[in-house]
Structures are given as structure tokens and as C-alpha cells.
Amino acid sequence: MNVVELKEVHKDYSLGKVNVPALKGISLTIGEGDFVSVAGPSGSGKTTLLNLIGCIDRPTRGELHITGQNLERLRDRELTELRHRTLGFIFQTFNLIPVLNVYENVEFPLLLGKRKQSRKEEKEWIDHIINEVGLGDRKKHRPNELSGGQRQRVAIARALVTRPQIVLADEPTANLDSATSERIIELMKKINEEQKTTFIFSTHDPMIVDMVDHVIRLHDGVIISGSTS
């Protein structure tokens, strides 16, 4: 089953009067449980593509289906709900909430929706994920008391806490050293295998490209290979 499906998707940015076409007719499908990387040179449209798949931006033209739903007709409220329910984000710049500690940052997405499990189960689950990313002894730390790799792991835990079907990560390792990067990717791979979570990330990093199931190659807003798995 395809969790992501794009048909002739275009995205233009307007810079004043100039139209900048960032994506020029992208069609692709990504299946459930895929571990995919979007690769391409700087400016090729990787971030733009991930934003569209992640429902945090809308395409200029074209059709976008996420877990079978056509996004075009969804209103802001429904789109927000879809993001909350189905998608997890790992930002390149981590984007942790500075006033919350590690545990609270991971807990945060759960507080946005209705509770689906008991308080106790929820706490166990959060603890489990934090342990899983190796931060069991850092729960009470604020983001500014953590290293870059630790923050990235908090971001991963936060993205996974709602058990999303799809996790998106825009250059998750760009700010990390290569050893940490490898551990992070391995962690995601493990989760991918255990939970059947679909992972889509963009990267320049050749090492990551080697570790994924398949690679979508972008160039200048056009897919040059890997549009289907």
C-alpha cells in the first residue's frame, strides 16, 4: 500500500514578481514501511518536497495523497489533525520547545490531541521512547543543556511518540558528526523495522544514501530516478 502518492506536483515560490519554480511536475509513490532518502544537490527541492509530503505547505498544482487522502480539499483544521495523527517531523534544526525539558518535549504532541491510552501507559510509553533514543538519564534537562546529537534524538523521540505512519526528516544529520549521524540513522532503521514506520528523509550525506532502501534523486525540481519503490 502506498502511504504517499504525488501526481504532477508543482511548487512555485514567488519572490516579489519573480516566480521561482522549486518543483516541476513531481510524481512519485512511497509504500508503507519504506525507508527512503531524497537526495540531490543544494537547491534541487528536497526541503520543498518534504514540506509538501508533511502537509505543512501546499502545492501550487498537482495532486497529493497521504495515506489515501487527497489533501486538496482539506481545511486548515483537518490538515492539522492529519499532521498530528499520521505524520512525525524531525527538523534539521531540531526545533525543541526551549521552555520544556526532554520528557515534556517528547510528551508535547500527545497533549495536543485526545488521550488514547491511560496516563500510566502514556508515561511508560514516553519513558520507553526516551530510553530507546538513549536519553533515559537526561529527562529533566532543558534543550539548551544538551548536545546537538542529544537534541536530535529528542526530536526523533518526539516525532515517534504519536506512533505516526510516516516520519519525515529534513537533513536529520546535517548538524551532527559522522559517528553520531550513523547512530541516529541506525536508530531510525531499527524503529522502521520494528514498527513498520515509513521514513522519508532528505540528505546530502553519501553514507546515509548507502543505508536506505531506496533513493529518490532530485535535480532542479525534477526527479531523475527512484520515483517508485
Partner: protein, 610 residues
């Protein structure tokens, strides 16, 4: 919900500069409101106590008039207008006495007098307050509220004046006239009837104990005197009959001689030659009445001053409102006969000629009909319109027999008609129109009495305090607006700084409502913490000052608005309420725009975070 509050609270601590600016302004605003308003309402309260005790009592009842009035004269057109005499003295007095809230009632009148200080000297004005010593002493505890420097209070049925200490000192210091009880004072009065002069014996020299205020000259110049002398001097009684001038030659003998302490009396001082003739005759007319005190009707008073058993603000207000309602209801009994008789006329006419109504109505245009019905339903004030309509009908009826009807209010016009300036049939017809179409309006015109509280009687002083209060509130309003603008700016900057954070939250599935609540909670938390601190700080300061008291120096503004020598400010519930309102309003108004701004932040902004 908990998470919103938690994040809001943490952000309050995390963004210290923002919290400082927003909180500081709210603290300052609430503090100033609590302190300022408490201070001023204490001055009003202190003033109220002083005046109700010594000068005005709690409630004043006068004839309904359309100019501003006080016991210190008509303070917008000084000396030009008098409060008319009470229209239905006996019945009203009886009615007031029957009210269980009423403690005592006294009657007073007011007029301006000039001390005759000899030739070529400038005038020295006095505010003459005619009192009825018996009831005056019952309403105002004279021993307590007045300081008698010399002599004694006026006795019942005695003529004379109790001079203010200020007036006595002034006469001594600036006019070279030393006065003591037992001496007589030559007083002038002006009125529509001309210029009057009378010699009035001085009975005492007094000062108000609690009521101060050299800043407003009419208070220290207020003197207490008998009713007859004031009425005659100021022409407050009905015009003197000309026949009585026969006694004038005799009365002239009573004119002060050169041995009198004020020296020679010059009747034409300051009066041009032409008016002197007429003035002199009225003056002499007056002199003839000098010993016939019964000439003035007992009921020729201007004011009922009513002291109540319960003198607190709320009871007084309730009593005033009840009384106003009563007078409004009882208006019929206070209206002229032709209006009183109207219902009877209506019965008669309705019984006899129905078709006449229809006939009159045919003269009305559609517009006039709707105007009349508006006037009747009270939606529109219509005396002018109605009189225009009547005029027009009269034109049609060809009725303008010599009476100038232009711009007549309809009631005097009808009165003219009743005086047989028009033929009887027309009078009946118009009266019918009045009854049918206008009578409801006439009834709704309101009470013929004005019932007011102390501050109206003490208007110049109470108005000053209220004016200061208004100025201060205007200043606070400006502070409020400035605070809202500054806080709004600070919040917008804060929202912009946190664009990435908000975008991130939105990307993770936070709805707009969450963002809204987060900012609202943040601002409300700051407002509450700082606003309540401001309230507590303000309350503490007022309580501290209140227990010590603020001394007011002689002749200062503070003394005047405080109505005494020491002001004890007390925390006012109203001030605290206003502070609370300021706090909430500031928070809510200044958050609206920044929050609107925050709601526009798209989830994609999360990607721009550096």
C-alpha cells in the same frame, strides 16, 4: 489545557524583558488607579460628610429649574438667577415629614448681598443664606458644625445676621470697619425690582468647623440671616405693592445717621442718575415694610434641606430616587389647573362629539400624525413640533386673532386660548386636540420638583473635586491607551521572535486555538500577577496613609477638596474594581492584535528556524 498553562507560565519566566515591560505597565496602571481613585473618592466622601453635616444636608428639594443651582448661587451666571420659591410648600413639607427615612427638614433661601462700605469703595459681596433657626438647628448640629467666635446664633423669629469670620475680618482689614454682635450692618441687595438697602443687626460671628475653602470665595462669604431681610433685599418675595410707598416719609427717619458706624449712607453710590428714581421708590417701598415681618409668607422659601436617618450614600440615593419617582407620579397635582382639568374635559368631549375628533384629524398630514404618535410614545421630545402643528391648524382655522403664536409652546398657547383670546368653539376644539393628542406628553414632562443630593447644593466645591477626579480619570485613560499600545508592541515582537516555535507547534499538530490560548494565558498570567501586586501595593499605601492622615494646610486646594484639615484616605471598592477592570481590559485589548498575528503563522515557518 494544562500544557497550555504550563508553557505559558514557563514563558513568563523565560522572556523576562517582555514580562517586565508588560507586567510593569500593568502594575503601574493598577497601582495608580487604586491609589488615585481611593484618594479622590476619600476626598469626595470627606467633603460629603462635611457638607451634609454643616451646609447642605443629604437631600435638597427645589422647584424644577433649567439652570444650574447651588446654595452658593447660580454658579454659572452668578447673581443673575434665583432659585424660585417652592411651588407647593405646605403639601410637600407634610409629605416629606411623613417619610420614615427623614430625620429633620429645614428650609433656606439664598441671595447675594453687598456690604455698604461707604462712598467710592469697591463692593464687598456676601452670600446670604436665609435660615429658619429652629429647624436649621435640628438639621445641622450647630454647636458641633459651627464655631461661634463672637455672639450667638440667630434666634427664631428674630431679624439679624450671623456674619462669617472671613467677612468680619475682611471688613476690618480692608474696609476699616470693625463689627461686633450688637452692631448693625448696612446691606444692599439688587433684584428685578431694583436696588434695596437695609440695616441688619449683627447677632454673631461664626465659621464652619468642617467646611473650608478660601479658594472658592462664596463659601467663606456665606452668612446666615433671617428670611425677611434676605427676601426683601433680594426681591425673593412677590413684588411689593405700590400703594405701600405711602409710609415712605416716615421710614426715611430710620435711615442711618452720621453717627452710625458706617458713616454716611449714599444711596446713589454706584447707581446712575436715571435708575435712581425708580430704585429709590422701590427702596423706600421696602423700608415701609421694615417692621411688618409678616409680609413675607411663611412658605416663601427656595429650598427644602432634608437630613436623613441613614446618611450613607446608598440610602440617600435610594431616597432621592424614590422621591423623584413620587414627584413624577404626583405631577398632576402640581400642574396648572387647565392641565389638571384635562381628563374631565376629555370625558365630556368624548361623550358628546366624536365626529369633531375626526374632523380635527383631517387637518393633520401623515407626517404630523406620525410626529404626534412619536411624541405620545415618548420616542421624541415634541413640544416644539406640536406647537408648530397647532399653529398650522390654527392658520387653517383662521384663528390668529391678534395673539402672536409664533414659537409658543403649546401649553401657554392653550392657556391664551382659555383666556378667551379665541372664540369658545375653537378653544374647545383645540383643547380637544390637546387632550386627545398631547395630554399624554404633558403628563410625561416630569416632576415639578428637582430632588438632588448634597453635591448639587454644594456644587462649586463638589464640582471641583469631581472635576479633579475627571481630569485624573482622563489621565488614567491616556495611560491605559499608552499601556495598551506599548504592551501590544512588546507582544508582537515576542510573537515574531517565536515564529519558529509557533510554526513547530503547528507542524506537530497544534490547532490555532492552542496558539491563541497559549498567548492569552501568558498575558493573563502576567496581568494577574502584576495587576494583583499593584492592587496590593496600592491598598497598602492607601491604608498606611489613611491611618496617618494627610494634613491640609490652611487655604490650600487639599483643604478645600478634603472638606477639612486632615484627609484620611480610605481604600475604595470602586477604585479596586476599576483597577481590576484596567488589568483585564489592558490584557485582553493588547493581546488581540498580536494573537491575530500569531494565528497567521504557517507550520512551514518551523523550517526557517535558525
Amino acid at each position: 489545557m494544562n500544557s497550555v498553562l504550563k508553557i505559558a507560565l514557563r514563558n513568563v519566566g523565560a522572556h523576562k524583558i517582555k514580562t517586565g515591560i508588560v507586567g510593569g505597565l500593568i502594575f503601574l496602571g493598577v497601582f495608580l488607579i487604586v491609589v488615585g481613585n481611593s484618594f479622590l473618592s476619600s476626598t469626595t466622601e470627606s467633603l460629603r460628610r462635611a457638607y451634609t453635616q454643616s451646609v447642605s444636608a443629604e437631600i435638597a428639594v427645589i422647584k424644577n429649574i433649567d439652570f444650574d443651582y447651588s446654595l452658593f448661587g447660580t454658579w454659572n451666571e452668578m447673581g443673575n438667577l434665583h432659585v424660585p420659591k417652592l411651588p407647593d410648600y405646605d403639601r410637600t413639607l407634610e409629605f416629606l415629614q411623613a417619610q420614615e427615612e427623614v430625620r429633620e427638614i429645614t428650609t433656606v433661601s439664598q441671595g447675594f448681598l453687598v456690604v455698604n462700605a461707604g462712598e467710592n469703595d469697591s463692593d464687598f459681596w456676601l452670600n446670604g443664606l436665609a435660615i429658619d433657626p429652629k429647624s436649621y438647628g435640628r438639621v445641622f448640629n450647630v454647636e458641633e458644625s459651627l464655631i461661634l467666635h463672637e455672639g450667638r446664633m440667630l434666634l427664631p423669629d428674630e431679624e439679624g445676621i450671623v456674619l462669617s469670620k472671613y467677612a468680619a475680618d475682611y471688613l476690618r482689614d480692608y474696609k476699616g470697619i470693625t463689627v461686633h454682635p450688637g452692631d448693625s450692618l448696612l446691606l444692599n441687595g439688587y433684584s428685578a425690582n431694583g436696588f434695596r438697602i437695609r440695616e441688619v443687626p449683627i447677632r454673631g460671628i461664626f465659621e464652619y468647623r468642617y467646611v473650608k475653602g478660601d479658594m472658592y470665595p462664596m463659601l467663606p462669604r456665606t452668612c446666615l440671616m433671617d428670611q425677611q431681610n434676605l427676601n426683601l433685599l433680594c426681591g425673593l418675595n412677590p413684588p411689593v405693592q405700590k400703594e405701600e410707598t405711602s409710609a415712605l416719609a416716615e421710614e426715611l427717619l430710620f435711615a442711618p445717621s452720621e453717627e452710625d458706624m458706617f458713616g454716611e449712607v449714599s444711596f446713589d453710590a454706584g447707581v446712575s442718575s436715571d435708575p435712581v428714581e425708580t430704585d429709590l421708590s422701590s427702596l423706600l417701598g421696602d423700608m415701609s415694610l421694615r417692621h411688618s415681618l409678616s409680609q413675607t409668607e411663611n412658605s416663601d422659601w427656595q429650598w427644602f434641606l432634608v437630613s436623613l436617618k441613614e446618611g450613607d450614600k446608598k440610602s440617600v440615593k435610594a431616597f432621592r430616587e424614590n422621591l423623584n419617582d413620587y414627584f413624577a407620579e404626583a405631577f398632576q397635582t402640581f400642574t396648572p389647573d387647565y392641565v389638571k382639568d384635562a381628563p374631565r374635559f376629555a370625558d365630556q368631549f368624548l361623550a358628546s362629539d366624536q365626529e369633531e375628533i375626526a374632523y380635527l384629524r383631517t387637518y393633520l398630514t401623515e407626517e404630523e400624525k406620525s410626529q404626534l404618535s412619536n411624541v405620545q410614545s415618548g420616542a421624541q421630545d415634541g413640544a416644539e413640533q406640536v406647537s408648530r402643528i397647532i399653529n398650522r391648524i390654527m392658520e387653517i382655522e383662521n384663528l390668529q386673532k391678534g395673539s402672536s403664536l409664533e414659537s409658543y409652546p403649546f401649553d401657554s398657547m392653550t392657556r391664551n386660548l382659555m383666556d378667551e383670546k379665541a372664540d369658545e368653539a375653537t378653544t374647545r376644539r383645540l383643547n380637544r386636540l390637546m387632550i386627545e393628542e398631547l395630554f399624554p406628553y404633558t403628563l410625561e414632562k416630569g416632576p415639578d420638583y428637582t430632588v438632588s443630593e448634597w453635591w448639587h447644593a454644594a456644587a462649586p466645591m463638589s464640582m471641583t473635586t469631581m472635576g479633579i477626579q475627571a481630569v485624573m480619570n482622563a489621565a488614567l485613560l491616556i495611560l491605559f491607551i499608552v499601556a495598551v499600545i506599548i504592551i501590544m508592541n512588546t507582544l508582537i515582537i515576542s510573537v515574531m521572535e517565536r515564529t519558529g516555535e509557533i510554526g513547530t507547534m503547528r507542524a506537530m499538530g497544534a490547532q490555532k486555538g492552542f496558539v491563541f490560548l497559549m498567548f492569552l494565558a501568558e498575558t493573563l498570567v502576567i496581568s494577574l500577577i502584576f495587576g494583583l501586586s499593584g492592587m496590593i501595593a496600592g491598598s497598602l499605601i492607601i491604608t498606611l496613609i489613611g491611618s496617618a492622615g494627610i494634613p491640609a494646610a490652611e487655604g490650600t486646594m487639599l483643604q478645600m477638596i478634603a472638606g477639612g484639615n486632615t484627609l484620611y484616605p480610605a481604600l475604595s471598592g470602586w477604585a479596586v474594581g476599576a483597577g481590576f477592570l484596567f488589568m483585564i481590559l489592558t490584557a485582553v485589548l493588547s493581546i488581540l492584535y498580536p494573537v491575530g498575528f500569531a494565528l497567521q503563522i504557517q507550520p512551514v515557518e518551523a523550517m526557517r528556524e535558525e
